[in-house]
Amino acid sequence: MTMRVLTAVLRTVRDSRRLATGLVILALMVLLALFSPLIVHAIGNGHDPLELAAYEKWLVPSGDHILGTDQFGRDVLAMVVSAMSVSLQIGAIAGVISTVVGVIVAFVAGYKGGWVDGVLSTFTGILLVIPTFPLLIALSAYAKNVSLFRVGVMISIFSWPFAAKTIRSQVLSLRSRPYVDLARVSKARDLEIIGTELLPNLLPFIGVGFASSALGAIFGLVGLEVIGLGPGGVIDLGQIIFNAINTGALTLGAWPMFVVPIVLLTLLFAALNMVNIGLEEVYNPRLRGVAGE
């Protein structure tokens, strides 16, 4: 099974340049995040470059501080590197939680059908229309200094319904496929059918769901940071941008403060989006081009 998944992954990657590019960028970013403590340490050269007033404030980029320093005299490069890893973490946390919850709800609703589906779908529908921004802000106003993980959980409370909705409709269309019938007459039990017949075919949708939840979380966190609410104790990309905006970095000429994090975020969004689109293109049977009729 794992081998099969692996070969399937390889096959899809080979089929789409966009997917491959997205994955490569993502991988690079994850690597950067993994090594961020080392990089930060190297930048600090013995000091903690993220400590307040570690250096003079508002230094222009130079050999010592490639991206300069911020209003509290922290090294911007070090900030960006460690912020990158925080942003990726929040995306991963929220992405995983909301995808898992979404997938479970979607499968239960879509496969069981009947009143279970009715109740679950109505509930998802309800959560979908509640605007998340005010709720998130209200939540974080109180949970201001909570850990990254809890922020991730909070964000996923609101993002799972999206995943659930799209996946449910796919389950609905898949469960009447002949190969599901064939599995049934081959004595496959419900769980087995879900796991082996439906799930693999939903991988692209699950991938898309994961990516969009992760994006949503990272973006949502930026939104929170930008109005001054976010997890305490850590710096994420949104916070750096928030700082830049609030301190007027643009007019000061402190471009690294906003250009670098925004470019990184954009790159991350683009990478995830490329993976999304790549997956959809690869898995869309119409686009796969079956020879003959």
């Binding site: 109505t122 509640i130 605007p131 005010p134 469960r175 939104g223 930008v226 905006i245 975020l265 293109e281």
Partner: protein
């Protein structure tokens, strides 16, 4: 278990047909009416559910808004002023925060449903929250609403063309640009626009919603001024918003391109533009209509940063102020209005959909 069919597939008819009353019979003869009725019922359930979830969500957050407010006032304006227990008790009552949560809920729903009353606002006490919201809502709808529609229309058209000409260089550029830029924050674009157009070129105003020398009204001057002042903030939203729609339209377009009726339309020797609009686009824009309905909800979030940057008198800033002061009635009011509008918009669209697309299965 393995042998049973999914329960939804088959239906017990015998018992049902016996119990079939006159209304039911009529409804089964008028499936559209039955659909409308059922859809409306679902609407009511969702509305009630969403309002309830929102209410409890806010009330169950720990924290005491009245105390917070007094604290804020102390810090900001009235130094060394102490909040007496009397003051706190009084406002707890005023804001419906006294008593247990279920009586609070009943009181709130009662006022909301029977009187359309959201309770007094805290950020502008004792003005009712609905008035506070209604005052900033038109600006937000004007700015975000119009830009959202524009972004949608542009996004659909460009996205359709990009999907249509898939494989061409121009399309690839647009697609990749959209992938990269669709998530750049609005305010970043706004900031750059301000810097260039307002301050470097001095062409457009950078703040406010209209020229304060012109008094608001239905005059041409005023409308012109509103448009002029709305151009920069609007543009930033349109630009980024459109990229998102381009991407999703393109994604919808691509599978449609494989359809036989497109090949057939080509064989018919129709002009490409006609095939694109009448054949391809018409078959894929429907999900975008629904998506647009849902995206309307975001208008109620306001676009806080853009509004702040342009000092725009919209809902976003009101909302942020309300949130900073924990003005429950206003926040919940905005949330309620968003819920109501989105659900209503989606309801209307769903009822309209059978007219837009004959294939829509309106019996489910």
């Amino acid at each position: 278990m393995t042998a049973t069919a999914p329960p939804a597939e088959a239906v017990e008819i015998t018992a049902k047909s016996a119990a079939r009353s006159g209304l039911r019979a009529w409804l089964s003869r008028h499936p559209l009416a039955a659909y409308a009725l059922r859809r409306f019922g679902l609407y009511l359930v969702e509305l009630w559910g969403a309002l309830t979830v929102a209410f409890f969500f806010f009330r169950l957050i720990p924290g005491d808004p009245v105390r917070t407010l007094i604290q804020t006032l102390q810090q900001n304006y009235i130094y060394n002023q102490q909040a007496s227990t009397e003051v706190i008790a009084r406002y707890q009552h005023e804001f419906g925060l006294d008593g247990n949560i279920f009586t609070q809920y009943l009181k709130y729903m009662n006022k909301l449903i029977l009187h359309g009353d959201l309770g007094p606002s805290l950020i502008n006490y004792p003005t009712p929250a609905q008035n506070v919201i209604l005052h900033s809502l038109p600006w937000t709808i004007g700015l975000l609403g119009i830009s959202a529609v524009l972004a949608w229309v542009l996004g659909i058209i460009i996205g359709a063309v990009a999907g249509w000409r898939r494989g061409k260089a121009g399309s690839a550029i647009i697609t990749n640009l959209s992938i990269a830029l669709s998530h750049v924050p609005f305010f970043f674009v706004a900031l750059i626009l301000v810097y260039i157009f307002a301050y470097t070129l001095g062409m457009l105003p950078a703040r406010s919603a209209y020229d304060s020398n012109i008094s608001p009204g239905l005059s041409l001057d005023f409308i012109g001024s509103v448009l002029k002042y709305g151009l920069l903030p609007g543009l930033s939203i349109v630009v980024i918003g459109a990229f998102g729609w381009i991407l999703s339209t393109r994604m919808l377009m691509v599978p449609v391109l494989g359809e036989d009726y497109l090949t057939y339309a080509e064989a018919k020797g129709l002009k490409p533009w006609r095939i694109l609009t009448r054949y391809a686009l018409r078959n894929c824009y429907l999900p975008q209509v629904t998506a647009f309905g849902i995206s309307l909800g975001f208008i109620f979030n306001g676009n806080v940063l853009v509004e702040q940057l342009f000092n725009y008198p919209g809902l976003g800033t009101t909302l942020v102020t309300a949130i900073q002061q924990l003005d429950f009635n206003t926040i919940l009011g905005v949330t309620d209005m968003a819920i109501f509008s989105v659900l209503t918009a989606v309801l209307l669209l769903d009822l309209l959909l059978p007219l837009l697309d004959p294939r829509v299965k309106y019996w489910k």
